[in-house]
């Protein structure tokens, strides 16, 4: 197909759509909500492989469109997530949220097509902006969304700043702005870029932002939020840092961080947020392993994860929407009243637990497989042995804290007396759609495998992709069932309490607040006074020398005149100091 004529970055469709949505009403808006992501999807697939587009900025050649297999895979699932998310949100979400979500999704797709670091950075920041807006949009319904969005923005801008420093350093060191594997380059710049990426992935020590921010969004808002930011970060890690060993440790930490905090968590959607960290930890570990199989695994897992996590959040969101309750302690016995929501939730829970015949099963095991396959050739095989054993344990753990905990406390357990119904039809449809995808990918994994980035590997070692062997099925069943045994046996220990768990965010939510109250806004009212206070110390010091100081207006002049003289001598003195 000859399409060179209108090669636009597909992300722009959604970004432009974000600005069109407010201009239209009713059915047209609904139609656009569903049509634009599909159009984007079409665009993603119409762009010929390996094509690219360039654009000049400063002295650099930007590459806002570079088609790659990884990019296409992620763009595909992003478009699908935007589609289903839009469907789910259809007339429940505020207009601002919908526009922001499209803007956000479009930027995420923009990242997947970015061929250079500056384009990447631009979309990266647009994403931060879009996602923050998705959060804000819920400020009316949930007042806590608003400060949460500020903290969220702050973390991401910090990440962005580190990323930008890294990019600048990288460009200076290599002279190239191309976005490609950086494992060969060296120096501080590389680590800064990595750090910037890791902030978005939810790596320690800043893992807390996910659980802090996402659950404050609206039901549909969190569906959007869960899909893009962390997964885009996984994408850039796949492209930029395959095989960076430190990612293995970071990934493992994230896996268990998510499980432990998830087990402690009472708020349903915070639980889901922790499970995002945990699941993304799997992917990060796989990127750290860095073989083609591992990268395929990370990509495939990201693909499947977006779908089942969105499904879980749609289910949890529906519960929140229909009952107004967000805590395990307030819920229970909803299966009878919200059967469709329950089925969706259970399907998602099974998928995240890698239950056979679900998408999780066929993707997560790629990563564990990568661990043992690489062990034979790796320089440090014991590390990979550990990785394998830990990931296997974590697979069981996933079942424990999401696969069982979520359905059990919400849909079964003791009836909490709530009598909601299933949510609006369009929300049900969206859940059906994703539930279907979860199963379909599990039953027919070949379709997903066919679009994975490293096809050579796939063809050379078909065996490793043969998920449905008796041994594998059996071991997986054992893993899950005995995790279930542990769950029910230790249920008393899992008694949910109305609490939250402290995390690193304590530093910026509590410590800074205390420090801030101590030092700032109390004096902020009368402009000049603030500075006076800052100067107060120095003033008092000098006041010792020449008696009480006078009215404020006279002081700065004298103060400054002194500085003038000091600088004058200083400027001259430099000549002799050196």
């Amino acid at each position: 197909m000859q399409l060179d004529g209108f090669m636009l970055p597909p992300g722009l469709i959604l970004i432009l759509g974000a600005f069109i949505l407010p201009q239209v009403e009713g059915r047209v808006r609904h139609a656009l909500l569903l049509a634009l992501p599909l159009l984007t999807l079409l665009m993603v697939w119409l762009i010929p492989h390996g094509s690219h587009l360039t654009l000049g900025l400063m002295e650099y050649e930007l590459e806002p469109l570079r088609s790659s297999a990884e990019g296409r895979l992620f763009a595909t699932v992003f478009a699908v997530a935007a589609f289903a998310g839009g469907w789910y949100a259809l007339n429940k979400a505020t207009l601002l949220e919908l526009s922001a979500a499209f803007f956000y999704a479009g930027s995420a797709i923009g990242v997947t097509f970015a061929g250079d670091l500056i384009t990447l950075f631009i979309y990266w920041e647009l994403m931060a902006l879009g996602s923050t807006l998705v959060l804000w949009a819920n400020g009316k319904q949930n007042p806590r969304a608003y400060p949460a969005s500020m903290r969220y923005l702050l973390v991401h801008l910090c990440g962005g700043v580190v990323l930008m420093a890294g990019i600048a350093g990288h460009v200076y060191a290599t002279g190239s702005i191309a976005f490609s594997s950086m494992t060969m380059t060296d120096g501080l710049a590389k680590w800064l870029i990595l750090a910037g990426f890791l902030v978005n992935v939810g790596a320690p020590p800043l893992s807390a932002w996910i659980a802090d921010a996402y659950p404050e969004a609206s039901p549909s808002g969190m569906v959007f939020l869960s899909a893009f930011t962390t997964k885009t970060a996984v994408f850039v890690l796949i492209v930029g840092f395959p095989g960076t060993e430190i990612l293995i440790y970071i990934g493992l930490y994230m896996v268990f961080y998510g499980i432990v905090y998830g087990l402690l968590e009472n708020n349903l959607r915070r639980l889901m947020a922790y499970s995002i960290v945990s699941q993304v930890g799997f992917m990060v570990t796989a990127v750290g392993i860095g073989t083609e199989l591992a990268l395929n695994g990370a990509a495939a897992h990201a693909f499947a994860h977006i779908i089942y996590k969105a499904l879980l959040l749609m289910s949890a969101g529906s519960v929140l929407l229909m009952t107004g309750k967000r805590h395990c302690t307030d819920l229970g016995g909803l299966f009878k009243h919200m059967p469709i929501t329950a089925i969706a939730g259970i399907t998602g829970a099974l998928a995240i637990s890698a239950f056979p015949f679900t998408s999780g099963f066929v993707t997560k095991s790629l990563e564990t497989a990568a661990a043992y396959q690489f062990a034979a050739t790796a320089s440090d095989p014991m590390l990979l042995v550990w990785v394998w054993f830990l990931l296997t344990a974590a697979s069981a753990g996933s079942f424990l804290y999401v696969g069982l905990k979520f359905p059990w406390f919400v849909f079964f357990n003791k009836d909490a007396g709530l009598r909601p119904t299933d949510p609006a039809p369009h929300m049900q449809y969206a859940m059906w759609f994703f539930a279907f995808l979860c199963i379909a990918l599990g039953v027919f994994p070949e379709a997903l495998y066919a679009i994975l980035p490293y096809q050579n590997d796939l063809l050379a070692q078909p065996k490793s992709y043969q998920q449905y062997t008796a041994s594998h099925l059996l071991s997986q069943f054992q893993l899950l069932l005995f995790a279930g045994l542990a769950f029910f046996a230790l249920l008393p220990l899992l008694k949910q309490t109305l609490t939250i768990s402290l995390d690193v965010d304590w530093i910026y939510r509590r410590l800074f607040k205390v420090l801030g109250q101590e030092f700032t806004f109390k004096v902020g009212d009368l402009g000049g006074k603030t500075e006076a206070k800052i100067h107060g110390r120095i003033k008092r010091l000098i006041a010792h020398m020449h008696g009480p100081s006078g009215p404020r207006i006279h002081w700065p002049s004298g103060f400054m005149v002194l500085w003038v003289a000091v600088l004058l001598v200083g400027a001259l003195g430099l000549y002799y100091l050196r």
Binding site: I542, M545, H546, G547, P548, S549, G550, P551, H554, W555, G558, V561, L562, V564, A565, V566, L568, V569, L572
Partner: protein, 315 residues
């Protein structure tokens, strides 16, 4: 003596005395300039420093008050500042070419041409005037505009109360009439004005020029105001007449430049004003000096009016 006066200024607390001492200081510096052979500068210092600025400061005193408030902070800080700055200055002068030596760069580079060629190029004997009014005429225009800008500032800040005071009780009228003073002033003022005109038009040949003339002219009017009161002065020269004149002076200067431009020269190149370049220089210098005088005189008067009218209001 200069130093003694300066120290006296610092030690004094009565602002009135300080202003008077400043006048003395200016006169003393003027005589130093005379010693240094800088007659033009001395002239300006005497007219501006000792004359007009003393008047203006007195005008300010009428508005504010005669006594300094207790100092805000001790002398240590200013002392440190002055010592440091002074140290750098002294430092800088250590390597400076010796004062008065003929081989100084100052006397080697640009100055010789001014001295040797200006009579032929510009055609007037006073080199200072030829530098100010021709070689560096553009700077002089800038200075005139500085004066003009100061006027704009004063008008914006204080303004002139144009209408006569409803009750004819002003500070001067409260006191008994001073016939001796008034007669003396009436006698003096015409001479001062004529002297001003002389300085104005004789600037090309001897010390003097627009600045000095303008200031002297203004002091004549100021003397009149002081002796006869503001209302009479308004009757003589109203601020509404002076205002446009101040701008006209600037425009006369600038306009001369524009005319030279239109006649094919660069801005302020008077040589094109007449067939003979030297004659052209003369025309140009006369025109701009008149502009300078006009602006300086009117601005000085206006500023004085501004202070005095405000002072009367305060009283």
């Amino acid at each position: 003596m200069l130093a003694a006066t300066a120290i006296a200024v610092i030690r004094q607390h009565s602002l009135f005395a300080i202003v008077m001492l400043f006048g003395i200081y200016s006169l003393l510096s003027a005589s130093i300039f005379v010693v240094l052979d800088a007659v033009d500068v001395a002239f300006t210092e005497a007219a501006v420093g000792a004359g007009i600025s003393t008047m203006l400061m007195l005008g300010t005193l009428v508005i504010t008050g005669h006594h300094e408030r207790t100092p805000k902070h001790g002398p240590v800080l200013p002392l440190v500042v002055v010592m440091l700055t002074g140290a750098v200055l002294v430092w800088g002068t250590l390597d400076m070419p010796p004062f008065g030596a003929a081989d100084n760069p100052v006397h080697q580079h640009v100055a010789p041409r001014y001295i040797e060629d200006s009579p032929q190029e510009v055609g007037i004997p006073n080199m200072v005037t030829s530098v100010l009014a021709s070689y560096r005429a553009y700077d002089t225009m800038g200075e005139v505009i500085v004066v003009f800008a100061a006027l704009v500032g004063v008008l914006a800040l204080i303004g002139i109360r144009e209408q006569k005071s409803p009750r004819p009780v002003s500070t001067t009228d409260d006191k008994p009439p001073r016939p001796v003073l008034q007669v003396m002033a009436k006698l003096l003022i015409p001479y001062i004005m004529i002297f001003a005109l002389y300085v104005q038009f004789h600037g090309e040949y001897g010390p003097g020029g627009g600045f000095q003339a303008g200031v002297i002219f203004a002091s004549a009017i100021i003397l009149y105001v002081l002796t006869f009161g503001l209302d009479d002065a308004y009757a003589l020269v109203a601020p509404s007449v002076l205002r446009p004149l101040a701008a006209l002076g600037v425009l006369l200067y600038g306009g001369t430049g524009v005319v030279t431009m239109l006649m094919g020269g660069t801005f302020l190149n008077y040589s094109v004003l007449a067939d003979d370049p030297v004659q052209g220089q003369l025309y140009g210098i006369i025109a701009i000096e008149f502009g300078v005088g006009l602006t300086v005189a009117t601005v000085m008067m206006l500023i004085f009016y501004a202070f005095i009218s405000r002072g009367e209001k305060a009283a």
